[in-house]
């Protein structure tokens, strides 16, 4: 049987996109052996580094090399072009769109429109960008169902750690009644450092140096990142149909050294906890600093490690922990969605 060609388009080629491309080059043969499918990348869009479009398949190794060396695609390549990511989403001939552009936390755009464009064309879509899941999950899922195409987004919460996949594939017939997590490593790091007696400003400067804190730390510190993840989790797992604005949100900006020490005296630590549950038949969502026992499972989640606990009607509560992920785990998340599409696209 002749192998079928599967053409994929990557919108965004930052750290996640590059790591995914690297992983893909290593696994193309294994994918071929398993599915009898030739996966090739036919388009890569970036905002400031040029684009590549090549219906025969882009040479990923040289594309990665160009970016590493020159921080820009080589303008002399035959497949070099300068078009927008939306033009690629709308016009290039691909089978699966990968939305890997940077998060716009207060709108989810233009990622939502990229994915809509793909789904409207009856193409499968994978999002590593949590914006669309936090802001527009229901319409996107409904559109995918209507057009009978697949839409996956495992990477949007806890990288490649199976959460959505876990619920879909391993907790069948379970109804999820509660979700709880520690999902923001910046706040985890900052609280731990303040507990050591360091000043807030000093911690932020050190965190930036060590890569734990973004250039503008407010999205993390004020709980917006955690709220977006909470909205994404609850939209998918509990059918919440909410946005980050619906999350009752409080960040860690007001937590002081004294509060942490007082909590310590009570045998507790302070963590930024994400929570979703059901009250009066409605999903409620909350992100706020909470005092929890220092002997508890959640207290053991430090630094860049994260956790989600899922409570169900049939299987009680299970928790899943991701340990100090690197960019390779983000790449695996995107890759696992690709594999899921390949496994399900002909069903």
């Amino acid at each position: 049987m002749t192998a079928k060609n599967i053409k994929i388009a990557l919108l965004g080629f930052g750290n996640a996109g590059k790591a995914f491309a690297k992983l893909l080059t290593k696994k193309q043969e294994e994918i071929f052996n398993k599915f009898n499918l030739n996966v090739s990348v036919v388009a890569i869009a970036t905002k400031s580094k040029g684009c590549l479009v090549n219906e025969k398949g882009i040479d990923l190794i040289s594309a990665l090399n160009d970016i590493d060396k020159f921080n820009h695609f080589n303008k002399n390549r035959n497949d070099y072009t300068e078009i927008s990511s939306m033009e690629i989403a709308k016009n290039v001939d691909y089978d699966i769109l990968f939305e890997l552009t940077p998060l716009q936390i207060f709108s989810g755009q233009p990622a939502i429109d990229h994915i809509k464009a793909a789904l409207n064309r009856k193409k499968h879509a994978v999002s590593a960008n949590k914006g669309p899941i936090a802001w527009a999950f229901k319409p996107l899922r409904d559109l995918a169902e209507k057009n009978n195409v697949l839409f996956y987004y495992e990477t949007t919460v806890m990288d490649g750690t199976p959460i959505f996949n876990l619920a879909d594939e391993t907790l069948k017939f379970c109804k999820i009644t509660e979700v709880k997590g520690i999902l923001n490593s910046t706040t985890n790091f900052v609280l731990e450092e303040i507990a050591k007696g360091k000043q807030y400003d000093e911690v932020i400067i050190e965190g930036k140096k060590r890569g734990f804190v973004e250039e503008d730390p407010s999205m993390d510190i004020e709980g917006w990142d955690a709220a977006a993840k909470t909205a994404a989790l609850l939209n998918v797992l509990m059918g919440a149909n909410i946005t980050p604005l619906d999350v009752d949100r409080k960040g860690i900006e007001d937590i002081t050294y004294e509060q942490i020490k007082d909590a310590e005296k009570r045998g507790n630590v302070i963590k930024l906890i994400c929570y979703g549950g059901i009250e009066n038949g409605k999903v409620i969502a909350r992100v706020k600093p909470e005092e929890i026992s220092k002997n508890s499972l959640f207290a053991s989640i430090t630094s860049t490690t994260s956790i989600v606990s899922i409570t169900t009607d049939l299987m009680g509560t299970i928790s899943i922990v991701e340990h100090e992920p690197e960019i390779e785990q983000t790449a695996y998340g995107v890759f696992s969605d690709l594999i899921r599409v390949l496994g399900n696209m002909n069903n």
Copy 2:
């Protein structure tokens, strides 16, 4: 389309079998709606409470009532009979065999032979009994593959918490390089109670009363139960092809209050840790009490809560925690395997 009938046979009707039967009665309609399949139980074998065989489907509610009231099936039922579980495995007309008999920890029998009988007849098999997975996984899996039938065993480690399912369905293309766990709640309980200054004998008596300790506690205390779970995990997840005898095993029988207090002074606790890894290209397996930091994830796993950490080449390390399971979570494990068979049997 007319619904197809799926006939299942239950070998064993102890707590797990009864809880599964209860869950099944509640979910038969949902299964019908999802798969267009009528699932009925056509045989139930017990060792000392009689058997039921009924090709039209046993009335599970009355069967459960009889056992609850009389601790025996009603001999006046039309479907009452007294045959062995092996005769059922070999001769009754069923589609899926459920091995739910008590564990024989040093042989895995007669459960292995029950499953072999089913697989030889090209019937699907589900085991909640870890004996066959710890003692004979490879031959059983090979037999199932040869005969193109399904063989699942999620419940054998951590009840219905997805571990084997997690690896199969959500960690595709990953190679598992290390497995670590706390999997025996008796030893967890005993170590915690001894840490409080209680005497070993006193803890065992109290544990028996509270249901944490078996009538003969030695299988737990000496690490045999943990070794069987470790063998099962490594046979499935790492292709180890070992038995519990191959696990380098040390129980907690020699751990003293003084040792626990000394560990505490170093900021540590003692836990019975299950471990599997690769050394010189070979899977090695170990169960032994280890001193670990009291702030670590594993230290937070107390009482009947359990954990498995899985390290992979592509997805780093993830851990999954089951929180204080009840018998319903065992039932869900068996049920989830049934659902997996129903979902995959026609593929």
